[in-house]
């Protein structure tokens, strides 16, 4: 065990975790030339295409240092805030962390939040300044930031480049020298921490775990602590570029277990695996049920595709346990699903996978957070769909989720970022200078205000020089109202939203304006209204098309005209007919993108 090192790579998004991992794998000959490709661990199609890491990936390397053989277990983590729970479990499975900072960018919001998680778990931190090869690197400045943040010495920071391979040997040596080997008792009752799982269409669910205590052998009867379910360990092994089966794994090892589990729901990240015969006394601390944060309706454009959509969602859920859904129906959109996501990136990914992997044409409705509604009869309802809101007269009070947000930015942008946050009902808690021209702002904000376009706006007003991280901080009473949108007098449930009373009129008006842009003119006037209860607060009209004569039919060229009309008609098939009005697919989502 003294020759095992378990470490993860943590950083802000895009600071180069996966690329640096590539170099480590190369240097230790874990991946040979032929198998090598950029960000080799990002093996999902979507990860490769978008250049981001969505899931944690583990891989084992061998390394010889001063004549001794070491086993290094590397876990590459996703940088995006939506996946921070998974990151926290990967961190919990390690004794050390490579904290990577992009030297062209400096410390960012997720650098700090991931660092805090690592410190919480007593990890040995090895700070690394990455992308040193780039002209825009600012080594002195970033070095100061890291020293300030970690309270470490300058010479503890390793200068590296995932591109040129600078510093890679130094990193490997630091891993051996600085990170302590795993503790734990191989004779104690079995205790394995589940830090991720993947779905394989041949093997079912493959669970990634780290053995904290005890020893597991192939064929053992094991139990998942939190779900209480029992399985046989059909196959156990370590993760190289592929899976390598083993007869036995001992405490300190990182590996996988295949146990005939078919759906990902049965494997909860953070759960503890133990023996049925000689169970451990308690599970490993820090387990949480991942709860969705953002909810939206997903509907098939063509109502006949409902069952196909259900089948696709079920398949998606097989390897994405954090996706939740239940059937719901909408007067405007027919049958569909209310889905819960970890955040907006997660929601985008699900949508994209539905489209790419399952060829489903869907409408996604306005995302919502989950509110607590206290009724006069003192019941508490969790409402995450405007249509689920009880009648005003029955409501005692409403509470909405709040987040504690950290925004790190250059000082030039403070003014505009503060006014953005103010507009989102943010409350400034404190501000800290990270260096002379960089500042961290801490805000308490209603989560409902940031689910939608906050991040995009933050990026655009700061020209990309602001980073953002958050965690849920609790619920607070709020004055919320349901804002309805009416098309030609008919309320369209899929366009309803819950907003703060103070903003309702402004948002209502801007939604009407936005819909006027989004809905193409039709053969009759379309009245767009925003209403709270029975009170109309805004109105726009889309004037009817009164003239659309296009090309004439000359010399008997009927084909051309027909083809033109057929093409237009096919385009419209992607629209949703609501009452008499044709609404484009994207309108349901875009309507809240107000500038």
């Amino acid at each position: 065990m003294k020759n095992i090192r378990n470490f993860c790579i943590i950083a802000h998004i895009d600071h180069g975790k996966s690329t640096l991992a590539d170099r480590l794998l190369e240097e230790t000959s874990t991946v040979t030339g032929k198998e090598m490709q950029a960000q080799v661990l990002d093996n999902m199609d979507l990860e490769r295409e978008r250049g981001i890491t969505i899931k944690s990936h583990a891989i084992q390397m061998n390394y010889i240092y001063e004549g001794e053989k070491y086993v290094l277990n590397l876990i590459d983590t996703p940088g995006h805030v939506d996946f921070s729970y998974e990151v926290s479990r990967s961190i919990a499975a390690c004794e050390g962390a490579l904290l990577i900072v992009d030297t062209t960018q400096g410390i960012q919001a997720q650098t700090i939040s991931n660092l805090y998680m690592a410190i919480e778990h007593d990890l040995e931190i090895i700070p690394i300044m990455n992308k040193m090869d780039m002209d825009s690197a600012m080594p002195e400045e970033v070095e100061d930031q890291i020293v300030e943040l970690l309270g470490c010495k300058s010479d503890e920071i390793i200068k590296a480049s995932g591109k040129t391979g600078l510093g890679i040997q130094e990193i490997l040596q630091a891993i051996v020298k600085r990170i302590h080997p795993p503790k734990g008792d191989p004779e104690a009752p079995l205790q394995c921490l589940v830090f991720d799982s993947v779905f394989n269409s041949f093997r079912g669910i493959i669970t990634y775990m780290k053995i904290e205590n005890g020893t597991i052998r192939k064929g053992d009867l094991v139990k998942f602590f939190n779900t209480g379910k029992e399985y046989f360990a059909d196959e156990i092994g370590v993760l190289r570029l592929g899976m390598e089966p083993r007869e036995e794994l001992r405490c300190g090892d990182v590996g996988y277990i295949i146990s005939g589990i078919k759906v990902s729901k049965e494997v909860k990240v953070g759960d503890t695996i133990t023996h049925v015969k000689r169970p451990c006394e308690k599970g490993i601390e820090g387990f949480e049920e991942v709860k969705p944060m953002v909810f939206a309706g997903i509907y098939p454009i063509d109502s006949e595709d409902f069952e196909d959509l259900r089948a696709s969602m079920e398949k998606l859920q097989l390897n994405d346990a954090s996706l939740t859904f239940e059937a719901e129906s909408s007067a405007a959109l027919g049958f569909g699903f209310r889905c819960g996501f970890l955040g907006m990136l997660h929601m985008e990914i699900v949508q994209e996978r539905l489209d790419r992997e399952f060829d489903m044409d869907v409408i996604t409705t306005i995302p919502n957070v989950q509110y607590k509604i206290y009724t006069r009869k003192n019941e508490v309802l969790d409402v995450h769909n405007p249509s689920g809101m009880p009648d005003i007269t029955l409501i005692d009070r409403i509470e909405e989720p709040y987040i504690r947000a950290s925004i790190i930015t250059r000082t030039d942008f403070i003014g505009s970022i503060m006014s953005l946050c103010l507009g989102k009902r943010g409350e400034l808690i404190k501000q800290d200078y990270i260096s002379s021209n960089r500042i961290e702002l801490i805000y308490d904000m209603p989560m409902g205000e940031i689910v939608f376009d906050f991040y995009d706006k933050l990026k655009s007003i700061s020209k990309g020089y602001a980073s953002f991280d958050y965690h849920i901080s609790g619920f607070r009473p709020s004055k919320l109202v349901k804002l309805d949108i009416l098309l030609n007098g008919e309320s369209v449930d899929a366009l309803s939203s819950l907003t703060h009373f103070d903003n309702a009129v402004t948002i209502g008006r801007r939604m009407c304006e936005k819909l006027r842009e989004l809905i193409p003119r039709q053969q009759f006037d379309i009245a767009i209204q925003a209403a709270i209860g029975s009170k109309i607060i805004a109105r726009e009209t889309i004037k009817a098309v009164r003239k659309d004569v296009t090309a004439k039919c000359y010399g008997g060229d009927i084909s051309r005209k027909r083809k033109l009309l057929e093409k237009q008609k096919k385009g419209k098939k992607r629209m949703k007919q609501i009452g008499s009005v044709e609404v484009p697919q994207k309108a349901f989502m875009e309507v809240l993108k107000l500038d």
Binding site: K547, D548, V549, T550, A551, I558, L565, Q568
Partner: protein, 376 residues
């Protein structure tokens, strides 16, 4: 009943709004006429033997650029390979500045009994913007001369919603047109087709498109003036005195077969539609070398249905429900009726005596309506 269309793709100069295929290099003309005559022979069996050919139409481009011997050569080829005994309407499109005694005599000699003149406007400044080569005066004289030569079925083309046209000049143009006692008037709304000079000028904001309100106003003036003067609007863009509907053009709307000869000409024989290569040079080369010179599409049931709707609805009679059922079955009929409903309610379509037709209000949005009624 069937028709023959002859395409003459030559123009002296290119008009700014025009996206038809035509060539300004007149040197190719003789080679083209020879090739055309070869095609006439090659395709003599295109129409079913029992079809009687009732109409012949020379369109362009500018057929009036042909000289006497060209016309004779083409007409002779036609009469050799097709039966022309039952022709009732022979139309030739002419440009006003080509009209003279010689041309008119030539046309008479090939039994032409209908002229279609591209006049467009009676205001020189509008004609200049359009890039037409004639003047208003030439147009008036051309009509007069044709009438003196005994042509008693004359159609003129007009255009509205021109960039520099006003309500006033449009009224005047219509008034003059009516005063000339022509039997038929085609009036087209200017459209900006990709690839044309006008389209480019519009994109570059050199000319502005008329807004919707004004277009509609101009259109209403058109309907009102011509109706008051006794013209029937028998098709979206076509008006005529009683019994002077263009028989040839009507065949396009009535699902009757026609053969189109010459570069870019379209043919239809119920089962398929085909169109010749648009380029004069390639057309000639392919035929000279006995190679294929057209594209063809065999119509699916849906496409046939769509064509039927698109063409019938353009006419004042509208879609014959009985015929629709006979041709496409009960299911298509009920689909059609169902798709019509919103427009019937909003008075854009009207259903009467088993015919569904566009109302005045509907004509202006006929594209959207057609789009709804077709099936894809």
């Amino acid at each position: 009943m069937a028709g023959i269309y002859i395409h003459i793709p030559f123009c002296k100069q290119r008009c700014g709004y025009c996206d038809f295929y035509s060539h300004t290099n007149l040197q190719l003309k003789q080679r083209y006429v020879d090739t055309l005559c070869k095609e006439i022979e090659l395709r003599k069996h295109y129409l079913a033997p029992n079809e009687t050919i009732e109409t012949l139409y020379f369109g362009g481009g500018t057929p009036s650029l042909l000289n006497t011997s060209d016309f004779e050569q083409i007409y002779n080829a036609l009469s050799t390979h097709f039966s022309l005994h039952n022709l009732v309407e022979i139309t030739v499109e002419v440009n006003p500045d080509d009209v003279n005694d010689l041309l008119l005599d030539t046309l008479k000699s090939i039994s032409c009994n209908r002229l279609s003149m591209g006049i467009q406007s009676f205001f020189d400044h509008e004609l200049t913007v359009l890039g037409r080569r004639h003047t208003a005066q030439q147009a008036i004289e051309a009509v007069n001369l044709a009438q003196q030569h005994g042509f008693s079925n004359i159609s003129i083309d007009l255009m509205y919603a021109l960039p520099n046209q006003t309500i006033q000049t449009w009224r005047e143009t219509l008034k003059l047109a009516i005063s000339m006692n022509v039997q038929h008037i085609s009036a087209y709304h200017l459209t900006y087709e990709p690839g044309t000079l006008f389209y480019k000028q519009k994109t570059n904001k050199i000319i502005t498109e008329k807004d919707e309100e004004e277009s509609i106003q101009l259109y209403e003036i058109l309907i009102q003036s011509l109706t008051e003067a006794g013209y029937n609007q028998y098709e979206i863009s076509n008006f005529s005195l009683p019994c002077y509907e263009s028989k040839h053009n009507s065949s396009y709307w009535k699902n009757t077969p026609y053969i189109g000869l010459g570069a870019s000409a379209h043919s239809y024989n119920i089962a398929s539609r085909q169109w010749n290569i648009a380029s004069v040079i390639t057309y000639c080369k392919q035929i000279e070398e006995n190679k294929s010179f057209f594209e063809i599409e065999f119509l699916t049931e849906k496409e046939k249905y769509n064509d039927f709707i698109i063409t019938s609805l353009r006419t004042s009679k509208g879609v014959d429900l009985q015929k629709l059922t006979t041709l496409f079955g009960e299911k298509s009929r009920s689909y059609f009726i169902q798709q019509c409903q919103p427009y019937v309610h909003t008075n854009m379509l009207c259903e009467k005596d088993n015919f569904v037709r566009l109302t005045q209000k509907g004509i202006f949005v006929s594209d959207s309506i057609l789009e709804t009624l077709i099936d894809v």
